[in-house]
């Protein structure tokens, strides 16, 4: 993948709306365009980013020592390796600049690896995971802030491949977006986002459960509920739409012997 700083990158737009400075002019311009029609974007982006940190703390607390994080973005404060300093963590991202930056921030830490990889071709992610985890496949998988960028087929295929790779007892955390899209306003919003950044795929719970099978859903609730900040998401953040961002905890069930 070649780098072109004149073209916005979704990861860097995300960083910008989160208040970061890991972005270029093109990203900031694209972000401003999105914010004009989708002013609540920073709220939803924050909930996602905070959810990552909550999950990181939870996994560190429950002793998950092998963490595979997909579409990691900037590994800034509160990411998996800082929350769980003794765990082996493999981060991945599609953007080469993010990966280069991450290498600089992480430095020489033998427990942490950050690779550039495309989720549509996860074979090399599994290779890297096998290498870093020394063959251990009972893992905790971070899949946060990604599902809504993947179409049904890609998502189902990736879920299946992750399931096949991971050993029973593995867990996964993901977030997904729901929006009632049968109104003109909703369609317009999605269209605008697509033009300035990326296509978004909205799903309800039943669709998500079906696409993530055979992963078993342990718990689904809005991100704001996971974080205990329901009161922070105002009616205005939904912009008159029937919309919500959910967090899901999934497990790879132990096979009864």
């Amino acid at each position: 993948m070649t780098i072109d700083t004149t073209k916005p990158s979704i990861g860097r737009i995300y960083d910008y709306v989160l208040g970061g400075h890991h972005n270029f002019e093109a990203d900031r311009i694209a972000a401003q365009k999105i914010l004009k029609v989708f002013p609540s974007y920073p709220t939803w982006a924050r909930l996602n980013r905070w959810f990552v940190q909550m999950v990181a703390e939870q996994w560190a607390g429950s002793g998950h020592n092998h963490i595979l994080d997909l579409g990691s973005g900037m590994p800034t404060q509160g990411h998996f390796h800082s929350a769980a300093p003794h765990a082996k963590v493999l981060y991945t991202d599609l953007d080469p600049v993010t990966v280069a930056y991450a290498h600089e921030v992480i430095g020489d830490n033998p427990l942490v690896s950050y690779i550039q990889a495309d989720l549509r071709d996860p074979a090399e992610i599994f290779d890297a995971a096998n290498q870093l985890f020394l063959g251990e496949r009972r893992a905790a998988i971070g899949f946060i802030g990604l599902a809504y960028f993947l179409d049904d087929e890609s998502l189902a295929q990736l879920a299946r491949m992750l399931y096949d790779w991971a050993a029973p007892g593995s867990v996964m955390a993901l977030s997904y977006a729901y929006m009632q899209i049968d109104t003109e306003q909703a369609r317009e919003r999605l269209e605008h986002f697509k033009r300035n950044s990326a296509q978004l795929f909205m799903r309800d719970e039943a669709q998500m459960r079906a696409l993530m099978a055979p992963w078993q859903v342990r718990e689904i609730k809005p991100l704001a509920s996971w974080l205990g900040v329901e009161h922070l998401v105002q009616e205005a953040d939904r912009e008159g739409l029937d919309a919500e961002m959910y967090g899901v905890m999934l497990v790879h069930e132990e096979v009864a012997s």
Binding site: R46, Q77, V97
Partner: protein, 287 residues
């Protein structure tokens, strides 16, 4: 005075937590709401420290930490307002306690803003560096790939002592033609080649500049004492050459590689003969 403030500890912690929570969305993505109670406790602890000098230092250090963690300025200003309100109502608006609170918060805010600025500058510099190193790495990869392709696309084969064959395949632009010339001249000098056969059977297209390059290569080879034979000119390329009006003077052209090799050997006083004939000659010599 500070002892009086101390009595307000629970109320301060509670109100500051509430204020910081209200403004959670002003925090950066790196500061999750579940860190707020802890942040409020540290703020109150610093404020209630009995030693004024230590309190200022604690304030600066807290500001730095908050700045690095991504606590928003709006959060902190709200916390300050909440703290002043509590203290003002407890001390009936007396100036001194309010002054303590405001001095303390000014130090925290000042330090947070400075850290924020340094942090944003730092992130920008790191990002630029990451960008440059990525571009550099990609350029290295491309250079490596290009040199591999170059080596693959310009094989110079010593078929016999003094004879080199250079089969060219694909399209040849000026850049590649220059590379071919360079590599060929190196090989001529190295192998002391007398004859070079350039086989263009696999070349699909040729233009004026490519044809001129071939001619220049020929001349340069001549200067090194080599003769160049061009073989494998297809009908299309022959037409192009004629059409372009390129003069191929000084170039020996032959139909194919076989003819080229036969010619080269002949120039060296050699020939490829059937084995039988060789044997017959040898036998007749014995007689």
């Amino acid at each position: 005075m500070n002892d009086d403030l101390l009595a307000l500890k629970p109320a301060l912690e509670q109100q500051l937590t509430a204020a910081l929570t209200r403004k959670s969305m002003s925090n950066r993505g790196s500061f999750p709401p579940f860190r707020i109670p802890e942040a409020a406790k540290s703020l109150v602890a610093g404020l209630l420290d009995n030693n004024a000098a230590a309190s200022v230092e604690a304030a600066r250090s807290l500001g730095r930490t908050f700045g690095q963690q991504g606590l928003g300025l709006a959060s902190l200003l709200d916390a300050q307002a909440a703290a002043i309100e509590i203290v003002a109502s407890r001390f009936d608006g007396a100036a001194q306690p309010i002054g303590i609170v405001s001095t303390y918060f000014t130090a925290v805010i000042d330090s947070l803003v400075t850290t924020e600025q340094a942090e944003s500058e730092n992130q920008r510099v790191q990002m630029e560096r990451a960008y440059r190193s990525t571009v550099e790495e990609q350029r290295e990869q491309q250079d490596h790939l290009r040199s591999t392709i170059r080596e693959l696309s310009t094989p110079i084969i010593p078929v016999y002592a003094g004879i080199l064959v250079l089969p060219l395949v694909g399209s040849i632009d000026s850049r590649r033609a220059t590379e071919v010339t360079e590599r060929l001249l190196e090989a001529i000098a190295e192998q002391q080649a007398e004859i070079v056969i350039i086989d263009i059977t696999g070349v699909s297209l040729i233009d004026t500049s490519t044809a001129n390059h071939l001619l220049m290569t020929t001349r340069a080879a001549n200067l090194l004492g080599s003769r160049v034979v061009l073989v494998g000119i297809g009908a299309e390329i022959a037409q192009t050459i004629v059409h372009l009006g390129v003069e191929l003077n000084g170039l020996i052209t032959l139909a194919d590689l076989q003819a080229g090799i036969a010619y080269a050997l002949e120039r060296l006083g050699l020939a490829i003969q059937p084995l039988q004939e060789q044997r017959r000659n040898a036998t007749s010599n014995w007689r």
